[in-house]
Subunit: 142 residues, 4 copies
């Protein structure tokens, strides 16, 4: 499975931000992690709150480390909150279990990395991120 | 009391993985800790998510440190979530209070260590781990 | 004092990477932090080691937090290593006191943020980062 | 680049331990990390000290995250100790810059992961680990 390229990471971020503008969302912050959960690229729009990197990162990082995208993590948190809280602890606080953490898969279904989007409502964050991934021809699982 | 040997730790892991294959489970990750809570052996099956070591470790570590296997920890978490959350904090995030953390005892009931299994549902993780321990002639408390 | 804009942050990163290509450097990773030390943008070139975000961030973060760019931090470390080691501890490990952490100042000398560059030798990292900042019309202090 | 398989990880560990026995070394502990720095497999020989997982892990983790094997990290530490100390801080204490952290590469030179060996002298640890990797047909960079 190929490493996600910087070129694709840039496309994902730019197209996510563009979707956010089209949807009239609040300023977004978008991170792309590789399949090992390491930061590949990130952008925080002007007027976004200063701490948004950690939220975007936490959404994406939990997705890669667990193999569970944001919606699935949220469902688990709703059903067994102490489990997701413990998982957050196990990963040093770096897991934010809500929509906006999107697994990036190639055509064969292999995980290539994850996108983390934050800034508006979680559902809007996820919608913008899926649009960003779609522009690369890769598959997104929100 | 004897330390759990590497030979037994390998048997537990291999037989746990074998049970997982027989049960048709998702890829599993299995850790064996000694009676002091220190890592003795670990294996993560191919296609398992990259972060599974921390989950397997958290299940087993909480079991050894508290002398409480996964089911008992989960019961406590269900009943007094803030206690188990605080315990997670006290152990640097390394306690995951759900089934799959199994105490290993010798025939006299002394704790020799713990197994942590993750990858499928918690109940299936625990079932696979108990089968792994059974192959060594030791006792497992899930 | 104005916040560093995403547009300027992108220019800094792209021009730093371009300078790296022109100089024939190893793959670079570049972060831009705002005046509060918060991540604004980041890119890691293909084939760069997975952990480079932390090194780039550490160079830039120490620069902003102390108001001391990389060369000054290195001089301090050479002369009083236990001080810089203690500072590293005080900031949760997030200070890497070598060239490549560059303060970004406006024409009036106000700090607008910092750039962190890593991937080649520290001196080459710093040279590439200064070129990146120069393209925005802002001042860089390495 | 393919993920390192569990089968290869087991071979590396077993052959490293076997080399250790042939060399008459003290009890060894061996970890295999994947290309993202995540734990794939680990074994600690009987009579090894309980805390050896962290040392083996630290040798391998630094190697993957920095793209620098143990000997190169040690050379850097000898020459610029405050830099490697800061890097240790940036990675939460998980970098041990001495021989025994060995990069695993495929025939094309791509990093597939790393091995961390501890228990005897660092040079002997590295020699055993290189022998372990050699048995898989992969390349080791110590």
């Amino acid at each position: 499975m190929a490493e996600i390229s910087l070129r694709r990471a840039r496309t994902i971020i730019r197209e996510t931000l563009k979707k956010g503008r089209d949807m009239g969302l609040k300023p977004l912050s978008v991170v792309v992690l590789d399949a090992g959960g390491h930061v590949k690229a990130f952008e925080r729009e002007d007027a976004a709150a200063p701490g948004r990197f950690a939220i975007a990162h936490g959404k994406a990082y939990g997705a890669v480390m667990l193999g569970m995208a944001g919606k699935a993590q949220m469902a688990r948190a709703e059903q067994q909150a102490y489990f997701m809280a413990a998982v957050n602890g196990a990963y040093g606080g770096q897991v934010i279990p809500v929509p906006g953490g999107i697994l990036i898969r190639d055509k064969k279904g292999n995980v290539m990395g994850a996108v983390g989007v934050t800034g508006d409502t979680s559902d809007n964050d996820a919608e913008a991120g899926l649009a960003g991934i779609a522009e690369t021809g890769l598959e997104g699982e929100a």
